[in-house]
Each structure stands twice: as C-alpha cells, then as structure tokens.
Amino acid sequence: MINRIVRTMAEAMAGIADGAVVLLGGFGSVGQPQALIDGLIEHGAKDLTVVANNAGSGGEGLAKLLAMGRVRKIVCSYPRSPSATVFEDLYKAGRIELELVPQGTLAERMRAAGAGVQAFFTPTSYGTKLAAGKETREINGRNCVLEYALSGDVALIEAWQGDRWGNLTYRRSGRNFNPVMATAARLTVAQTQHIVELGALDAEAVVTPGIFVDRVIHVPYGDPPL
C-alpha cells in the first residue's frame, strides 16, 4: 500500500542535504509551509539556495533561516518588505547572494522544470537590467529573452487536504506557487491542514496529483496570520 504520509518532522526532512536548492511555497503569509521551514531549521541543512517569492519577513520562518546563516543564495522576485530586515541586512553586508527574477518568469521557470521543458523564450524583462547578459531573439515580432528551467532538490509546500497517495488541494489564494513548486523538485514535501481518506477528494478537483508529492505531513495549524 502506498503511503506517503509521514508522522514526524524528522521523516519529512530526511535526506535534505547541505547545499540543496530548496523551493519554498507561499505568497505573503498565505500558503507558506511554516512548519516545514521550522523543520528545516531543526534539521540543520546549510549552504542552501532558497527559491521563494519573498525573502522572509519578521523574525520567524525564512527570516530565521536566513538569520542563522543557512542560506547562501536566494532566488526571488520581491525581497523587499517593511519587515524584511534580516534579508536586507545580510544583503547590504554582502553575506547573501540574490538572483532577482520577475515573478512570472520565476513561476514559469519552475513550471518548465516540472514539465521537462529545458528553456523558453519569453518577452518578460527584454531590454531591462534583469536581461543583462541573457540570450535574446525576436520571434513573431516580439523581442524575447531565453530563460532556463529552474528545478529544486526539495520543495516545501503547504496544502489544504492531502491523502496517502499525496493528492493535494489548496485553499483560496494559498494555492499560489505551491502546485508549481511541487512539480519542480526531486523531493516534494507537503504540510497539509487535513488528511483525508483515499478517494475522498473529487477526481475533477485535485490540484496537485500525488505523482508530484513524496511526503505528506499533517499540520493542522489553522489560519495564516493576518
């Protein structure tokens, strides 16, 4: 019997190595895998590359991981926020590398990795600083930039419901990057608010089929912080 549900955070984190590329779901505080980030901190992996839309805020979660010096590089679209002081300080001190990627290109690069597309031409960022040094080409009258697939060693995501095959649903805008990242990593770990019996999810409404999910851990933490 396939059972991807794990009971302990240690099982959820098993095998995440130093130097790993870690995809972190969430947008703002919604759909963030907070418990898994805490688990990663406890697990101790370092020299990480983190891919996330934001660069952490406040002093918990990703900000804490950054403050502990575990992250070598961050790939994101929007590292700036009034409370992203941990990242900002590290950045100004030259102690963290930043790869800034337009948000849609960030999503599409991971979608490409998950879909086996190795690279693609997109009009986004053409003629801007973020295209500096990149291959460009005019296609159908549109100037494009060549962008490469971005895959992760591990994706840590948050979902609403999960079953033992790893099928997942999400809740409202908690969906965001989570289903995309699930497809793009060699190891995908989901924390879910609910565990349901196999067959309980509507086959027409599964958002992430279990084929993309390796481990599910039940973390019924309730609503994201306002």
Binding site: F27, G28, S77, L98, V101, P102, Q103, G127, R172, R175
Partner: protein, 221 residues
C-alpha cells in the same frame, strides 16, 4: 516654473486620479491593478459594471475589501491586502496566473511609475543603483503581457522633476508598452507622435502642462 504657481487649478488627489481612470474601463474587461494608486481604481468601478479584477497571486474575480469582521485570512491580493471573491471568481496557481498575464489575456493593466518615456518605455521598479536590495515582483510580466498598459502617477516628482521624459533615466521595466498615462493634471495617450493630451483638469493651460513635462506634448490632431 514661477508662472505656473499663480494659475488657478487644483491637481487631482489620489482618489480622484483613480476615479478618472476607472471611468475609462468598460464592462467585461479583465484588469490587473498594481500597488498604490492603481489599487484604488477598483473602488471607483461600480459592482454592476462587471469588470473582472485579476491578482497575480492567482485570484481572478476579486471583489471589494471585506469588512474587518468578514476577513478571510486565506484570501489576499498581490499587495498582501485582504480581499473578497465575487461570484464567478476562481483560483489558479502562479504559473497559470502569469499565463493569463503573459499570454495577453488581460485587457488592461494599471501600474504606477517613476517615469514614462515618449515612446512608451516605463520605469517603475528600481530608482537607482544603491545597495538596497532590488525588488521587481510581477511588474515586468504585467507590463509586457497585458493588452493595454495604463500608468497612473503624479505629473512630477515631489521635487518638481518631470515624469514624462524623452528617455528613461531610471532602469526600464519594459520598452514601448505604455498606452495611456493618467496624472493628477491630465490624461495622455502614447502615440507614434509621442504624448497626446486627451484631457486636462479645469483651469490648467497647455503651456503650464508642457512646463511640467520634459517630453514634448501634443494636442489631438
């Protein structure tokens, strides 16, 4: 510009700028609103004029902000504000959301900007080369992806520098994409001739407006 300070005109406030722009959005358009004044535009589109608001974090069909007691903590927009979902709205993931954007399915995107150049170039994401971490979000995708890009911004900076320029001095967000600019003084169409003034606030002279633009302004031909 001493001559202009004596002219009797009252620049629009932020809400009035948003209201002016909102008037030009017809029913049925799919619209993404950037952070700042653009977000205010939604407040000026009556609910019975069905305009479908998109947020790049995967929300299509956003409704008005909820009353405090009706906040759904799972439902935010790209500005991380709590919003509501209209009947007929739905949720998608980030790659699908940006497929809508990049694929040209949005009728309109409204962004703020630091500068717009006479050829439609826009600068709205980075002001300088200092050591503050840069942040771009979805601006570059939205600017190249939507069918129309309208900018809403003050006519000049607080220091009085023109924002309608001949050539961007700030880093570009996208090239040759802006179709209209709504400022606190006027509305401009970006054409092959450059900025054409569609309308102006009462009491403002064309000369006074031109004095507040580096780029040459045109009257409709």
């Amino acid at each position: 510009m001493p001559e202009t300070s004596s002219v009797a005109f009252k620049p629009l406030g932020r809400a009035a700028m948003a209201e002016r722009l909102a008037r030009d959005i017809p029913e049925g358009w799919y619209v993404n609103l950037g952070i700042g004044i653009p977000t205010l535009v939604a407040d000026h589109v009556p609910l019975d004029r069905e305009v479908i608001f998109h947020s790049e974090n995967g929300v299509l069909g956003m409704g008005p902000a909820p009353a405090a007691e009706h906040i759904d903590p799972w439902l935010i927009n790209a500005g991380k504000q709590h919003v509501t979902l209209r009947q007929g709205g739905c949720f998608v993931h980030h790659a699908d959301s940006f497929a809508m954007i990049r694929g040209g399915h949005l009728d309109l995107c409204v962004l703020g900007a630091y500068q717009v150049a006479t050829n439609g170039d826009i600068a709205n994401w980075a002001t300088s080369e200092n050591d503050t971490a840069p942040a771009v979000g979805g601006a570059m995708d939205l600017a190249v992806g939507a069918k129309r890009l309208w900018v809403v911004m003050e006519q000049t900076t607080r220091e009085g520098h023109a924002r309608l320029v001949n050539r961007l001095s700030y880093p570009a967000t996208a090239l040759a994409v802006v179709k209209r600019v709504y400022t606190n003084l006027a509305v401009f169409e970006v054409t092959e001739r450059g900025f054409v003034v569609l309308d102006m606030i009462a009491g403002l002279s064309f000369a006074a407006l031109q004095a507040r633009s580096e780029a040459k302004l045109h009257l409709p031909s």
